[in-house]
């Protein structure tokens, strides 16, 4: 039965061939073939996931030669289901959305090929298949983004995506050949076995092989998941068709998180790589979210939101919470896909009527009229800090009592704590008739979200990494010296407490943003509004390279 995975991958490719061959004859009905095959793929993907849940044994099927191996495992089957579900939604949406566009059949061919390549990527059982699928996704995305061959902006930004993806392909290729040279096989299973047996057997350039390979794979993941300095393509690729944006933001961009998970047996043996992954992810999460807040274009704001979310996903890998990253990418994929697909409709409706009810939320967010002097500020500050901390702590304690020993889990708790505190602070400042009711509702919803998140992520952990020793070692690989960690935790905790108290006190006194910081704040806002001048920097670099190449050509008379 596990061989069904082969059919799951083959179906989109077969559909692409049929759609392309018969699109002139079928006309608009070409889309029906594509959608039907995706329905079938989705159903088969559900069955294969069920099979993986009932029997999680890894199985491999060799298709062609020494490579072309398909791997049946929990991660691959789960990702297949996610890809087929998102792709199916995008297909169904495109049937009507793209009907007026030229190249209707070609669009569905490309969508099918993209779906097939993504699935091949997640079930690749050897390095060559993985590299090929990884590479194909970049190529197909370029042509999907540039579907409208009349639109120069679409192609310009598709080119940015292309070159960033190519930049990311090459470290993966280097990692693949290093692993092959070290172990004499392209098979992932064999390589992982050998690494587990003796992880520090080999060195490259005087570094441990696993550290070098881990760094190269992380670099490939950064490019694919739009991490800071490799992110510029993501918010600007909005000139492509909306369904492609949805597929890209909901599925393709998440590949970085998948790749790091796929190479978990490598990362578990590293000692320093995951710290860099954490730093890059953290910087991306913070800057992506800040940039999102400064956008006035809904699609660009969604683009930067994706960047922030990808940063958070990579950061989760950086703290050793690998399965949480997979849960995050699935949840993000579903909600971001929905947002993209409905963005056009929202913009259209908003042009006629903004439809925003003039309620408490409106007063707070749009009219910026926060309430003042509502409740005793000190009591509220203590509640704001205490309630989220207790809820998060208890929720995690319910699923795993030993979470306190995992440094990565503690780091993530801080994010939950700050988010919860922010939620309660917003409640405190909102104008409402019944404050107690609103406050209770906020706490209830927070408890539901935290419990849901904790239980689901725990289920993912058990499914993807059933070996709890391995999962604990992943956290340990991301850990640092206990003394320094405890010191950092204490400092951050005190900083958070002090700042929340100060914020509440300042709000009570009516100087939420102090005058002293205003010029500094404005300068920072200006920097944000220019997106840190990174695009200008790259443009200038490319122009200089172009000038140099032209000079060389003129000097050598173009021969």
């Amino acid at each position: 039965m596990q061989q069904l995975i082969l059919l799951v991958i083959a179906l989109p490719f077969i559909s692409a061939i049929v759609t392309q061959l018969f699109c002139s004859r079928l006309g608009k009905r070409a889309a029906t073939v594509s959608v039907m095959s995706l329905w079938l793929t989705f159903i088969l993907a559900c069955i294969t996931l069920w099979l993986a849940i009932s029997d999680p044994t890894v199985q491999e099927y060799s298709l062609l030669f020494s490579w072309g191996v398909i791997r049946f495992d929990s991660l691959g089957t789960l990702m297949c289901l996610v890809i087929s579900a998102i792709s199916l939604i995008v297909h169904v949406y495109s049937v009507r959305y793209m009907v007026e566009e030229p190249g209707y059949g070609r669009f569905f061919t490309l969508l099918d090929l993209m779906t097939g390549s993504l699935m091949l990527m997640v079930v690749a059982g050897d390095l060559i298949t993985l590299v090929i699928a990884w590479h194909l996704v970049g190529i197909l995305l370029y042509f999907l983004l540039g579907h409208d061959a009349r639109s120069r902006p679409a192609y310009r930004y598709a080119f940015w995506t292309w070159i960033t993806y190519r930049f990311g392909d090459l470290p993966l290729i280097l990692a693949a050949v290093l692993l092959y040279q070290a172990f004499g096989s392209w098979s992932l299973s064999y390589i992982f076995e050998r690494i587990a047996a003796d992880p520090h057997m080999l060195t490259v350039f005087d570094f441990s092989l696993v550290e070098v390979v881990g760094s190269l794979i992380a670099l490939a993941a950064f490019a694919r998941s739009a991490q800071f300095l490799l992110h510029t393509w993501l918010p600007y690729t909005m000139s492509g068709p909306t369904p492609v944006s949805a597929l890209m933001h909901a599925g393709i961009v998440n590949a970085g998180g998948f790749l790091i998970n796929r190479f978990a047996p490598v990362y578990v043996e590293t000692s320093g790589v995951l710290h860099w992954v954490l730093v890059v992810g953290l910087v991306t999460a913070v800057l992506g979210s800040l940039l999102m807040l400064t956008q006035n274009d809904i699609k660009k704001a969604l683009g930067y939101s994706t960047m922030g979310q990808m940063g958070f996903m990579i950061m989760e890998c950086g703290v050793g919470a690998f399965s949480l990253a997979i849960y995050h990418l699935i949840a993000h994929g579903l909600f971001k896909g929905t947002m993209f697909l409905s963005a056009g409709g929202v913009i259209g409706k908003a042009r006629q009527d903004d439809g925003i009810p003039k309620d408490a939320l409106y007063n707070f967010v749009i009219a910026k009229r926060p309430a003042r002097n509502r409740k005793p500020w000190l009591l509220m500050a203590v509640m704001t800090l205490a309630i989220p901390a207790v809820v998060i702590f208890l929720a995690h304690w319910l699923v795993a009592q030993d979470f306190i020993h995992k440094q990565g889990a503690i780091i993530l708790l801080f994010f939950g704590w700050i988010t919860g505190a922010q939620l309660l602070f917003v409640t405190y400042r909102m104008r409402t008739k019944n404050f107690t009711r609103l406050f209770a509702l906020m706490i209830t919803s927070f408890v539901i979200v935290v419990l849901g998140y904790t239980f689901i992520s725990h289920a993912f952990d058990l499914f993807l990494y059933p070996d709890q020793v391995f999962a604990a070692r992943l956290y340990a690989a991301a850990g640092i010296d206990v003394f320094w960690f405890d010191a950092i935790v204490i400092i951050i905790t005190l900083t958070i407490i002090a700042n929340w108290l100060r914020t509440y006190y300042g709000t009570r006194k009516g100087y939420y943003v102090e005058r002293v910081y205003k010029p500094l704040w404005l300068a920072f806002y200006a920097l944000l509004s220019r997106e840190f001048y990174i695009i200008e920097l790259y443009t200038s670099l490319v122009r200089r390279l172009d000038r140099l190449a032209t000079r060389l050509n003129v000097l050598l008379r173009w021969v």
Binding site: I128, F143, A149, W162, I163, L174, V559
Partner: protein, 252 residues
């Protein structure tokens, strides 16, 4: 004698500045009937000359070959004349063959490496010659909006371009992968240089494609490539992919 054969090899597996001769000859040949044989045959004498004694090739020569490859791939970034671009990419690709010879590759494998690059370039030369016949010059930016005007030709152009710049399943992809694989542990710097060349090809190739394919079509419209010709090209793509798969089995 040895230095003479090396010098001759440097003409056929072009090393700068001898590469100027190949590019001069290639650009003067305006017909596809000349360009295609030139692209297919030019590197072979070089391989024959070097195959007899690969020990002649020292580190300096390999470094020179890599610099030539990087130089020509970098120069392609701003080239818009398709025939010039083809010549530059051929120079860049063939100079990479020096590393394969240096690592002691068998003659059969060397031939495969050479054809892996030459065959897609030969297909490109045929398409370029057709464009030159129609537009009098195949200059990206002057020829524009090809996708609107000649969709069949554009499709072929896209696939050929992907084959040239080393995209998966085409022989050039496996050739580059095999080169990197063979050299990464022995001389990692060479592997990084090949990776850089690969990136530059991708950059310039897609940039050129963008200029040529995107936009509104020209005022004077030309006939698209015939269906039978397109079928021949598609057949050759299948053969290229089959060749690529064979290469992957033999070399990886």
């Amino acid at each position: 004698m040895q230095s003479t054969s090396l010098l001759l090899a440097a003409f056929f597996l072009p090393l700068f500045p001898m590469s100027i001769v190949f590019n001069f000859v290639f650009q003067r040949a305006s017909s596809a009937w000349i360009r295609v044989p030139v692209l297919l045959v030019w590197p072979l004498p070089g391989l024959w000359l070097l195959e007899s004694d690969s020990s002649q090739i020292g580190d300096t020569l390999v470094l020179w070959a890599l610099l030539t490859s990087i130089l020509y791939s970098f120069r392609t970034v701003v080239v818009k004349e398709l025939s010039v671009w083809t010549g530059f990419i051929a120079t860049s690709a063939w100079s990479l063959l020096w590393t394969a010879v240096y690592l002691g590759a068998r003659f059969d494998d060397l031939m495969m490496h050479a054809f892996a690059f030459s065959l897609p370039l030969a297909l490109l030369a045929i398409l370029v010659a057709r464009l030159e016949r129609q537009y009098e010059s195949a200059y990206a930016g002057v020829v524009t909006g090809l996708a609107q005007e000649q969709p069949r030709m554009t499709g072929l152009f896209v696939v050929v371009m992907l084959a040239v710049i080393g995209s998966p399943l085409f022989p050039s992809f496996f050739s580059l992968l095999s080169n990197i694989n063979n050299v990464v542990m022995v001389m990692p710097s060479i592997a990084f240089a090949i990776v850089l060349v690969w990136l530059l090809w991708s950059w310039s190739g897609i940039r050129l494609l963008h200029e040529l394919v995107v936009g509104d079509p020209a005022v004077i419209q030309y006939e698209d490539i015939s269906q039978s010709m397109a079928m021949l090209f598609i057949l050759s793509f299948f053969l290229l992919v089959a060749g690529g798969l064979y290469m992957s089995e033999v070399m990886l």
